[in-house]
């Protein structure tokens, strides 16, 4: 198992390196630079030169990249002039919100997906199955920002059950925090749940056709035990993988959903970095988000190893 984890880690390293390359150079392609954004509209070329020299921006771009990467590896992501704090601090401050949103979305998705997908597979071609399929398709098709808007309309404006925006920290009030998070989490989790449900269904259909399920029936195993013990553990393997891939969607979707619901998360921070042309912050958030995707998938691979003993060796 240890060897397996190390092998996975080694595969992730070149990808992380590639991410740093793209995060750095792509942001440098954005017109204008930090200096002009910092100085505003009125400045002399000399002032700009002085600032550039101060930030090392007059060095060749490769040198700048190496410098940036070395700093990043030491935990220094640069300074964000928009938040007026170090980039890392700005990100870490907002990270818990995004993590909570993502986790809550996944929990909602899984609670929805696994029972629905399993029942749909067991009652293949029944009305329930068709209903679940339709829900799955709609869940994938409905834009999360529209779903969010609709939920605000129905549950906040009309029914008045939830605040229509604004964020309450977990430490201020657990209930208030949950109230401010639940709608965004549903908006974000619906599509993930739909994808995971479709995967659960098809994977369950495949597993229930396997010989070892026939064998388990021949052993006299009850149907409940057959599903929960013999089939589900195998059927969940691809579902976990799909959930891992969906992290990318969750992180991207958080940009939109955090914006709608006014949640101060990393996604919103990335958007603010773009609109305020805060390049150090943008590089930092992009690097962070993409690395988070890789790391989550690394974790998923390890969970995969636990679920599927064959893969470990």
């Amino acid at each position: 198992m240890i060897a397996y984890i190390i092998r996975r880690l080694l595969i992730a390293i070149p990808v992380l390196f590639g991410i740093s390359l793209i995060a750095f150079f792509m942001v440098r392609l954005v017109p204008g630079d930090t200096v002009t954004a910092m100085l505003g509209n009125s400045y002399t070329p000399e002032q700009a030169e002085a600032l550039r020299a101060q930030y090392g921006l007059d060095e060749p771009i490769i040198t700048q990249y190496i410098l940036w990467l070395t700093n990043v590896l030491q935990g220094d992501f640069g300074f964000s002039h928009f938040t007026n704090t170090p980039v890392l601090e700005a990100i870490l401050l907002r990270l818990p919100v995004t993590i909570e949103l993502a986790l809550l979305s996944v929990v909602i998705a899984v609670i929805l997906a696994i029972p629905l997908g399993t029942i749909a597979a067991l009652k293949r071609n029944s009305k329930f199955d068709y209903g679940a399929s339709l829900f799955g398709m709609l869940g994938i098709s409905i834009p999360n920002f529209w779903l969010g808007t609709l939920m605000i309309l129905f549950f906040s404006l009309w029914a008045g059950w939830f605040p229509s925006g604004g964020f309450v920290g977990l430490y201020e009030s657990v209930w208030g925090n949950l109230q401010s998070m639940i709608l965004p989490a549903i908006a974000l989790g619906t599509a993930v749940g739909a994808v995971a449900m479709r995967m659960t269904r098809s994977s369950m259909l495949e597993v229930t056709n396997q010989d070892y399920i026939k064998m388990a029936r021949a052993k006299g195993v009850s149907s409940r035990r057959l599903i929960t013990k013999h089939a589900l553990k195998n059927a969940l393997v691809p579902v976990v993988t799909v959930l891992g891939i969906q992290t990318g969607y969750l992180l991207g979707g958080s940009v939109v959903v955090e914006q709608i619901f006014g949640l101060p998360g990393v996604g919103q921070l990335a958007l603010q970095a773009i609109t305020n042309r805060d390049y150090a912050l943008l590089q930092g958030t992009i690097l962070f988000i993409a690395s988070a995707f890789v790391i989550v998938n690394l974790i998923v691979d390890i969970i995969y190893g636990f679920l599927n003993p064959q893969i470990r060796y």
Binding site: V15, L29, V30, P143, W146, T149, L282, A290, S291
Partner: protein
């Protein structure tokens, strides 16, 4: 071909998707004939009017007819779909073909590159590309096209790798057929089925991405009748005029749904064929 259609036809919901798609295409082409109003025409006296016989889906804050803007919006969505998916398809297939066909370090480099691109959430990547290129419809299509390139590269690479090892390619090689000819004449047509399915599904993604970017204000210019823009504007009027945001949302969902079910139906219809090829 007939057999695929026969299989596809059995899937009623996919057929619905096809019907809806045809309808959207007709709307896009005949928009000026079908739309009851000019989508850009403002009218202060009619602003924020609810759904009525005169304006079936109501009007926005400038008094523009929502229905007409939605009908014109099909043009934007389909255009974005066609062009951005076209970009991803051509670029991705090329990358995948080259990677799989030449193998070794070429494959190494290209595959790692697509892996890395894959790690960026699509919306975020598109946002940054839009920041680089500046907001416009053309740039939006380029950005979405780039974002969905890796998935085509992966599919093309996978499909080619599975076919490459098959006997008839060896046969062609042994008869001295040139590399390029093998790629175009033998490998590409046989990689078609999964690519076709992905095109349909990516169409849905592209429509969603355009709406999301426009919604965030980094897409097309604000007066364009784009579904995403309409939704984004409507959001601010949610309390007083729900129809501004609700109807474009239905349009997006319906369009995306149609392409998704069509893609699903196509995959199911093509699947037995795919299986035959690999065996």
């Amino acid at each position: 071909m007939n057999e695929i259609w026969y299989q596809f036809k059995k899937n009623k919901i996919a057929l619905f998707g096809l019907g809806m798609t045809v309808m959207f295409i007709i709307f896009a082409i005949l928009a000026p004939l079908i739309a009851p109003y000019d989508p850009y025409e403002m009218s202060t006296s009619d602003s924020l009017a609810g759904p009525s016989l005169a304006h079936l889906m109501g009007t926005d804050q400038f008094g523009r007819d929502i229905l007409s803007r939605i009908i014109y919006g099909t043009r934007i969505s389909l255009q974005v779909g066609i062009i951005s998916v076209g970009i991803s398809l051509v670029l991705g297939t090329l990358i995948g073909l080259v990677a799989a066909y030449y193998g070794r370090w070429v494959d190494m480099v290209l595959s790692r590159f697509t892996d890395v691109l894959f790690s960026f959430p699509d919306i975020l990547l598109a946002l940054v590309i839009m920041a680089i290129l500046g907001p416009s419809l053309t740039n939006l299509m380029i950005a979405i096209g780039i974002v969905y390139t890796p998935i085509f590269a992966r599919i093309a690479r996978g499909a080619v790798l599975s076919i490459k090892s098959s006997l008839y390619i060896d046969a062609a090689k042994s008869m001295g057929v040139s590399n390029r000819k093998i790629m175009w004449k033998h490998i590409l047509p046989n990689s078609m089925a999964p690519l076709i399915v992905q095109v349909t599904l990516s169409f849905a993604f592209a429509i969603l991405a355009e709406a999301a970017l426009s919604f965030l204000g980094l897409g097309v210019s604000p007066d364009t009748p784009s579904w995403g823009i309409m939704l984004s504007e409507g959001k601010n009027w949610m309390e007083t005029a729900w129809w501004i945001a609700v109807f474009p949302g239905i349009a997006i969902t319906l369009a995306v749904f149609s392409f998704n079910v069509m893609g699903d139906g196509l995959r199911d219809a093509l699947d037995p064929k795919l299986k035959n090829e690999s065996s």
